[in-house]
Structure formats: C-alpha cells, structure tokens
Amino acid sequence: MNSSIFNNSMPLSSEDLVTSQVAVHKLSQAKVSQDYVIKGVDPGDAEIANFLFTLGCFKGETITLISVLSESYVVSIKDARYSIGSDLAQAVLL
C-alpha cells in the first residue's frame, strides 16, 4: 500500500534501486557533513510526509547529515536541526 505523493517518478522497491540507472542513496547511507539534494520521501504515511514537508524536507531541497548518534540521525534542513529515527532516515531518498 503506497500512497506517497512524492514518488511519481522514483523507484519504489529495493530491486528497482539496484537496477535503476540513477544512484540513489537513502539518508541512512549518507556521509556526514555533505550536502545532498532530496529526491523523494517515502514513509508510507501521508501525515508524516506532509509534516516533513512543512519543515522543508521534500523533493529538491538540500539536506545535510550532521552526525549519527546511537540510532538517530541529526540533520540540518532549512537552517534547523532535527533528530530523526532510523526508519525515517531510510525513507528519505537522496
């Protein structure tokens, strides 16, 4: 069940990720202190997707991974710091 509104042109399953031409990382695989452009968000929950949107976390925006603390990822989006859990980090595609 997938109603995410951001993924019209994005590969959705892990097999697609492997076979697609474009190298797509998940935020959980990103390198620290490097800027990335968000290519899509897929948490499978429209409410969360909308919320992330209002923070500025959506397709086309820059996101930077500041550090990884235990299982949380500290990111910088639009000049603010957030700590997100690993499942959310895996949902942000770069």
Partner: protein, 681 residues
C-alpha cells in the same frame, strides 16, 4: 491551563491579539514578558499545550483599551498534524483576533516564513516579531528588516524576548495597536485551492517555499552556515552519544535529586520546620488550659500538626522544581528524548515519552499535559497513563517519612522506588502494545534540536515560586480540610461523643476505614489508620503524611537537631505497629496506585476516551495492589520464614488481575494478526 481574566473596570474596549509562530520561537517568553504571567516555558518544541490568555501589563499598554494576548501552541503550518496545530488553526479562523503577532525565529527565517505567509492570507493584520535578534547579531547574520517588511506587506519589529529591557516589546505592541481595524494583503496567495486534493496542496506548498526562499535570499546574509558542524554539535556528540548518553543522563538526574533531597533541600526545610515548631508552641501557649481539649487537639494536632508535617517538605520539592526548570530551559531535554528513543522503541513508544516522565518527577499534572506533543494517539495515551508511576513531588514526603522511620534514612529506599517506577512503566508499555495489537505498527521519531542556551535563573525562580504558591494554597485548603475532617472523624464516634483514650477503634474514622482495611490485610497493613491515610492519599498524596500525623498524633517528622527526617523514629514505628517489610509494602502501595484526583483529571483530558481512562486507572490500581502484595509476602517469607496474613485471599485477587490482563493480551494478539494481514494486502 486556560487563564480567564474577568475585566471589571472603566475600560470599554477589548483588543484581542493572538500570538502565533513556530515551536521554540520564543512565543511563550514573549507572552510572559508582555503579561507578567508565568506560562511554562521549556526549550524543547511543544511546551505550550493549551491556549493561554493574559492581559497586557499597563507598562506596555498605553491605550484606553484592555489588550488580551492569547498564546497559541507552536505550529509549523496551518495544515494540522498534531493537535496543537489544529488549535491554532481553529482559533485564528473562528475567534478572529484583531491582530496577529507572528513570532519568527530570526535564526531560521527560511522555515519560519512558511507559516507567516499562511497567516498573512487570513485578512487579519499581522505584525512580525523577529525574535532572538540577539542570537543573529552574535552570529553575524544580518537581516534587512525594511526589505523584509516590504516583501511581506506587514511591519517587522526586531525583538529579543529574553532581555528585560530594550527588547523591542514597546515598539511591537504599539505597532500592533496601530494596525487594529486595518486590512491585510497577502503577498502569496494559494488561490483558494481544494484542500482535499493532496497533489494540488503539495504543488501550492512548493511554490510557497520557493516564494519564501526568494525573500530570504533578498533579505538575509549569513556568516555561520547552519549545515556545518558547530560547537553545539560536538557537545551533542558527547551528550547524546550511544554509550555515554545514558550515564550522563543518569548522572544529571542523580545530581538533581541529590541536591534537592540531601543537600540544599533539607537545610531550607529545617529553617521552615523551626518556624512551624515555634508557631505550634506559641499557639499551644495561647490556648492554655481553658480551651477544651478537643478543640485544642483539632487546632494543634489536626491543623498545625497535619499541615505542618506536609509543608515542612516544601523546600525539598521546590529545589527539585527549580533544578528541573533549569534543565528544561537549557535545551537538554530534546537530547534526552533522542537518547531514550533507542529504548522506548522496543516498548512501542518513542523517545518523546521520556519528557512527560521527567516532568512527572516534579508533578504528574504538567507531565501528563506534556504528552500532548506526542502525535501517535496510542503512544500519547500510554504515556499519560504511565507517567504517574514516576514518584512525584507530592510523594516525596511519603517516601521520606517511611525511609526515615523504618529504614534509618537509607538512600536505597527512595532510589529503589524510582527504579520500581521505571520497571512498572516498562512493563505497562509492553502490556499496552500487546493489548492494542499494535506490536507490529511502525511509528516515526522526529525531534527538533534547539540550540543550547544558558538557562535563565530568573525564569526558573519565577516558575518555582508560582509552583510554591499553588502548593501552599493547596496545603492551606485541601490538605487543611482533609486533616481537619480526619481529626474530627477520629475524635468522635457516631453518637458524637468524644472517643475515650484507648478506644480509638470506635471512632467514625475507624468504622469508615475498616472495611477497606480488610482488603489490605494481604498486603500487610490491614489497619484502619493506614487504610484511612491511603484513602486520603487519593485526594492529594501529601495527605498520607498529614493523615498519619493526625491519626497517630505525631506532629513533627523533621528533627531540627540531627538534620534527619524523623523524630524518634522507633517511637513512630512502634506506634504504627508495622514491620519493615509491611512498611515497604505500604509505601509501594501509596506510590503506585492511581494518582491524586487532580492528576486523574489531567489524565481524563489527555485520554479523550473513557475506555482508556478507566483501563488506565484499573491498571494503576492493579499494579499497586499486586506489587505491594508481592513485596509483603515475599519479604515476610524471606525475613521470617512464613508467609504473611491473608496470603490466599491476596493470591486470589492477584491471580484474577493477572488473568484479566492475559485475556486482554490474548485478544490483542488476534487484533495484531489481523492488522498484519491488512498491511501485507
């Protein structure tokens, strides 16, 4: 809490101003500065959980009108995600304030202005307060407020709500007043799109962000880039570290309790108790021998004694509140939530649940109210139900009393109670997940990490004093009343004759409490005096101490000479007639049964569901009973080799409770199976 101001004076016109803005933008600090109130401020997004109103102080209000300011919960946008954002949206749309004061965090324009442009569309005059201007200056970020004002189409005033003077507030308020009755044009209009069409909303929002980005580029010049590592990030790496985080947190909490309970607290407490003693002596002297002994006892032991026993603990509780306030203000609590998420995840909760629980160590009521920021309904309700298991400030006197009287003030008594609370919370969360059948559900953790700041001593003091005030009021009313009633009920029998010495068992109180005492026999304290104290504990936990003081005629639990928390401990112990094991069991019972009525009221408003409320109360009562039972029976077995009284009955009750729990968990299992299949469909 909603503070409603009744206006009875010659001012005829009332101007209503709404304070709206992102979480953590300094709204509440501004509210406090403007109104002189002490709305709770904490440095983690989501502290204002209810709408608060206040009258603007006359120092700022130079008009003939009364100006009411309403502090709304922080919101990132108008589309409701959490219930706080819904409150804001509905308020602004239905109550039509005359002016909206939009507090914008100057250190984060690009996110904040999203909400601003939405507010500008409401056709209510908006004034933007560019707050935290001191921080932008220290970071060498320059914001061109003139251009910003032009691009937004509304006045922009720089403010620093944490400063007490030259903070821009005068100018802010006068600008707001000037705008009354004017129109507001919106620089960005979403063209009345259909809000139910997600795609259209998304497109419109993207355009809105573009618009905002444009403005920010024109208006802001940064030196310090936010997406680079800063000093604070380095601090975070230590504080929220995978291995260090928890010990650091444990150390900090330990110091908070140590300072309030062992060092600073008792010193202040002794001062206070000294005064109470002196007062007692003075009244005793005044009464002389002509006053009837009944009245004398009522006044001295019932009122001064009972209330004094409780009030003597006030300094310890206040120091605790003060330290917790400092902790919240500096921004550390958000990091604690990050640390705790790892553990809470396994219980079906998120790290955010730790915050209500830490607040709950001061008082469960604000703790329960703080659960409002947890988006997931089940998690919110579970946390609200479990927060009271953390011993609150009102329970401290009870712990101190028993630790002092029966265990020679050993530190392990208090500490073990907190750990037991944690254990019960863990168990409770685990059980709830299984009962609701959501053990396979996912939920997401996201927490804004605000910048660390030096906590304001002044703010912490102010908030502590307001707590102290409400405690004293509570002591002077509810606790006083309870103690007086208990004293009366104890002194008279049903024929309203004074009960003779030695036949206390014929008093009203004894006959009322005895039935309950029967139920408590398996727990080791089936005595009517203790049952009565436990019952009054439901009204306010401090009453347990107060009632015991009245019922046993002990009026002073704090010894000023030895800085110890008992006066003739062994005397008290023999009067109560409890073994140490039974005493421990009694302590456990009082700590882990449902909290005071006020906290239950808070639970009721957070649960929003009677089923959950009653289930929560039943769970709390069940836990208190079972744990106390186990402690007493097991303890008696270990120390004396035989089981305590009433073992069979207690066992029967326990089995029944456990059986009910298992039944619900089993039902939940099938719900979970169902949900799993719908997920995979």
């Amino acid at each position: 809490m909603i503070i409603v101001i009744v206006i009875i004076n010659k001012r005829t016109f009332i101007l209503k101003i709404a304070l709206a803005g992102n979480p953590n933008s300094g709204k509440s600090t501004l509210f406090n500065a403007l109104t002189g109130k002490t709305a709770r401020v904490g440095n983690w997004a989501g502290v204002t959980v209810n709408k608060k109103e206040g009258l603007v102080k006359t120092t700022f209000n130079k008009t003939d009108a009364e100006i009411i300011v309403v502090d709304l919960p922080g919101a990132y946008s108008m589309s409701p995600f959490s219930s706080e954002e819904a409150i804001t949206r509905d308020f602004v749309k239905t109550e039509k304030p005359e002016v909206i004061l939009n507090i914008v965090d100057a250190t984060n324009l690009s996110r904040s202005l999203f909400f601003t442009t939405q507010l500008l569309e409401l056709n209510i005059p908006v004034v933007v307060a560019l707050n935290k201007s001191d921080l932008t200056k220290s970071k060498n970020t320059v914001i061109d407020t003139q251009t910003l004002s032009k691009l937004l189409g509304c006045p922009v005033v720089e403010t620093t709500s944490t400063k007490s003077s030259k903070n821009g507030l005068d100018s802010l308020l006068s600008t707001a007043v000037e705008l009354t009755g004017k129109q507001q044009s919106a620089p960005f209009v979403s063209d009345g799109i259909d809000l139910s069409n997600a795609k259209l909303v998304e497109d419109s929002d993207i355009k809105r962000f573009e618009f905002v980005k444009n403005i920010v580029e024109n208006v802001e010049q940064r030196q310090v880039k936010n997406n680079r590592h800063t000093m604070q990030d380095t601090v975070d790496r230590v504080i929220a570290n995978k291995w260090l985080g928890l010990p650091v947190f444990a150390l900090i909490m330990w110091s908070v309790f140590s300072i309030s309970q062992t060092h600073l607290g008792p010193i202040l407490a002794d001062l206070l108790v000294g005064w109470i003693d002196a007062f007692y002596g003075m009244v005793e002297g005044l009464l002389g021998s002509e006053v009837s002994p009944v009245l004398g006892a009522l006044l001295l032991d019932g009122i001064i004694g009972g209330v004094g026993a409780v009030v003597g603990f006030l300094p310890l509780i206040m120091v605790l509140f003060f330290l917790l306030a400092l902790l919240e203000d500096c921004g550390y609590m958000a990091r604690v939530a990050v640390i705790m998420d790892r553990f809470f995840k396994h219980l079906g909760l998120s790290g955010k649940s730790i915050i209500p629980m830490v607040i709950g160590t001061g008082c469960a009521i604000p703790g329960i109210m703080a659960t409002r920021t947890i988006q997931n309904e089940r998690q919110r309700r579970t946390t609200a139900m479990l927060t009271p298991f953390m011993p609150c400030g009102a329970k401290l006197p009870v712990i101190a009393l028993f630790a002092g009287v029966f265990f020679n003030d050993a530190a392990w008594v208090g500490t073990s109670m907190y750990f037991m609370g944690i254990a019960i919370i863990t168990f409770g969360a685990w059980v709830v997940v299984r009962i609701t059948g959501e053990k396979n559900a996912r939920s997401f953790f996201i927490m804004e990490l605000p910048e660390y700041r030096i906590p304001s001593i002044k703010l912490a003091l102010v908030s502590t004093l307001s707590r102290a005030k409400s405690f004293i009021i509570k002591a002077g009313t509810i606790i006083l009343l309870c103690n007086a009633v208990v004293q009366v009920m104890q002194t008279f029998n049903w024929q309203f004759e004074v009960v003779a010495e030695g036949s206390a068992g014929t008093s009203i109180l004894a006959s009322v409490a005895s039935p309950f005492a029967l139920v408590l026999i398996p727990l080791g304290f089936g005595v009517w005096q203790l049952a009565a104290a436990a019952i009054t504990g439901f009204i306010a936990k401090e009453n347990v101490v107060g009632t015991l003081a009245v019922v046993y005629g002990i009026s002073n639990f704090i010894d000023t000479e030895e800085l110890a928390l008992i006066s003739g401990g062994s005397d008290v112990a023999s009067i109560m007639g409890l073994s140490s094991v039974a005493a421990l069991s009694y302590l456990i019972f009082n700590l882990f049964t449902p909290p005071c009525f006020a906290a239950l009221g808070a639970m009721n408003s957070e649960m929003e569901d009677k089923k959950w409320l009653w289930a929560g109360i039943a769970f709390q009562f069940g836990m208190g009973y079972v744990v106390a039972f186990t402690a007493y029976q097991a303890g008696t077995l270990i120390t004396t080799g035989t089981l305590g009284q009433g073992f069979i009955y207690g066992l029967a009750v326990t089995m029944m409770l456990i059986g009910t729990l298992l039944y619900f968990m089993y039902k939940g299992e099938s719900v979970a199976q169902q949900k799993l299949t719908t997920y995979n469909a």
